[in-house]
Symmetry: C2
Subunit: 353 residues, 2 copies
């Protein structure tokens, strides 16, 4: 059967002051359509029914993970004792899925991305699940690039992949976030897609490659799953303490041969920064406002306030965010640097980080 694993372990310091040490990006309502993670789940449910949708998240985020609010069974919420990046998270989830359904194919997706064209996205997911099932290969989702972004990893397409499922290509290689000249070259070549971070694979294939490429992670997760139910949390905590922090991309995909890519023109954005949120919402107008906002003679501003009012006069291309007891103001073009500022805030005003 088809399962989905929503990886919700991220932090998202670049969305400070809305994201905080204890309120990660995936739990924010950035687009006005509800928390990112809930939007992610609602997009998946028509493809994979709620009882087969799983979430892997940090135990620190448990307060945000009401299974009733999320609409999935309680046992499908897998809590990691600490964050060790996506490879341990996927290893944990795949083991949980496989224990129930050894023939499962999983659709693994970040919890905090945005999709503009949902029906098209769902069609690609269905195709991808079929392709992963029929081929036993890893299938990644590539996003046709619209500009030479230096903020995304890239996937180089090779030959079209023959078979029942149309539109797939062999992957030549994964390229990490490039510098600008390289990104421009990628774009010109027409052979590169952005790496969406979403992939599909059977639990059998995943388990096999885990053993092969990340034997330590494999061993630790197996140990945690081996034993009585009552002792599981303790064994899992021990496993997590021992495992290296490593991503699926770096630990498995970049080493694996025969990966396929499905280009998906679905209005995807990873919503990496305030500026990319502004771009994602651009069709709503030049100025994007959430909450009680007064704008006077502004252009290309993103203004958000969670209570009270924000009045912005005569500004262009800025981000103004008031959330709780904090206010952020920066040019749109520099919203990437909020992450660095967050580090300073954590040092100087720890309760505000």
């Amino acid at each position: 059967m088809d399962h989905a694993v929503v990886m919700a372990g991220g932090s998202g310091t670049r969305f400070w002051p809305e994201s905080r040490a204890h309120r990660s990006k995936q739990f924010l309502d950035l687009t006005g359509g509800g928390p990112m993670i809930r939007q992610t789940l609602l997009r998946l449910f028509p493809v994979v029914p709620p009882e087969r949708v799983w979430i892997v998240a940090g135990i620190k985020d448990a307060p945000h993970l009401s299974h009733r609010a999320l609409g999935i069974p309680k046992r499908n919420i897998l809590l990691e004792p600490e964050g060790k990046n996506t490879a341990p998270a996927m290893a944990y989830a795949a083991a949980a899925v496989a224990r129930e359904d050894p023939a499962a194919v999983v659709l693994a997706t970040p919890a905090d991305h945005a999709i503009g064209r949902v029906p098209a996205f769902q069609a690609v997911l269905r195709k991808g699940l079929r392709l992963a099932r029929e081929t036993g290969r890893f299938v990644t989702l590539g996003v046709p690039p619209t500009h030479p972004s230096t903020g995304y990893g890239y996937i180089e397409r090779g030959n079209p992949f023959p078979g029942n499922v149309r539109g797939a290509f062999e992957v030549v290689r994964f390229a990490e976030k490039p510098d600008l000249p390289t990104a421009k070259r990628f774009l010109r070549s027409g052979r590169f897609d952005w790496n969406s971070g979403l992939f599909l694979v059977s639990v059998a294939t995943f388990a096999d490659r885990l053993t092969k490429f990340l034997p330590e992670v494999d061993r630790e997760i197996r140990r945690a799953f081996h034993g009585d139910r009552a002792g599981f949390p303790k064994r899992l905590a021990l496993a997590y303490r021992r495992m290296t922090s490593i991503s699926v991309d770096y630990g498995i995909l970049e080493k694996e041969a025969g990966i396929l890519v499905l280009p998906a023109n679905v209005g995807w954005s990873d919503l990496g920064t305030w500026s990319s949120l502004h771009e994602f919402l651009a069709e709503r107008g030049d100025n994007i406002a959430f909450g009680d906002v007064i704008l006077s003679d502004c252009r290309n501003v993103l203004v958000r306030t969670d209570c009270g009012i924000a009045a912005v006069l005569g500004m262009d291309d800025v981000v103004v965010v008031r959330s709780g007891d904090a206010v952020l103001v920066c040019p749109r073009s520099r919203s990437e640097e909020v992450k660095g500022m967050w580090e300073e805030i954590r040092r100087r005003f720890p309760t505000m980080a």
Copy 2:
């Protein structure tokens, strides 16, 4: 004897969101040295002792006017039932002072201006009091202009005034806020000072000119003061309801002949806007911050927060103010327009104005 009258009836909508409909500019701590009105009083006390310092203010501001906090006798706080500009306010105060001391000279000053060089300012006030007493004339304080401001009224100096008190000039005329070419001409001529709004005059002269130039105001105030003590508030309310709203400048000074001006190079600012506050505080550095503020790569910014933190990244020449439930962001050069924005806020979010 010498008395001082602090005119504290203004509103200061250009300092929104710190100033609000019920928190006027003179009660804000804009410079970090305490509320403007308290700074004004503390500057006066070495010149005029507290028992002869009076405040005229709106009854709506009574909650801000603790005589204990202000350090003057309770009976010296004169509450106007409604605001009718400075002529009725001064008429009320002058009548109260004259009832006690018919030979008084009063120093009338706005409550919400800032002075950079306090000892020099106090020396000029002493000189002005003497001059007003010896001549029986109105004496105004002129501020040598530093730039062709279009935000101030101007006073044109004529001949030096002979007599015991040095440094005074005859006033040729008062000029209202000029346009830029006129302001530049004024500056070049070397004959114009900014009108500080501060003046000194004997209560006898003031009463005489009030009868002459503003007989209606004179009559109403006389009526209010004529009768039993218990009925005074009611009579005053009636008088204020009937009086026209008019300023001392427009109603008396511009019509009066023989006014004197004392140029006063005392670091005066009327703190009319956020930008003028920034200029007044410029010696503290390019960036001015009040409260828990984090600035990263900013130039010439004024950032204030009354609680929580304000983080500003990569901005130049902006004002960021968070006060209570409101945030304001605007370029320094446009802080004059906050007044207009306040009107919109009052319409759309009345509780925030």
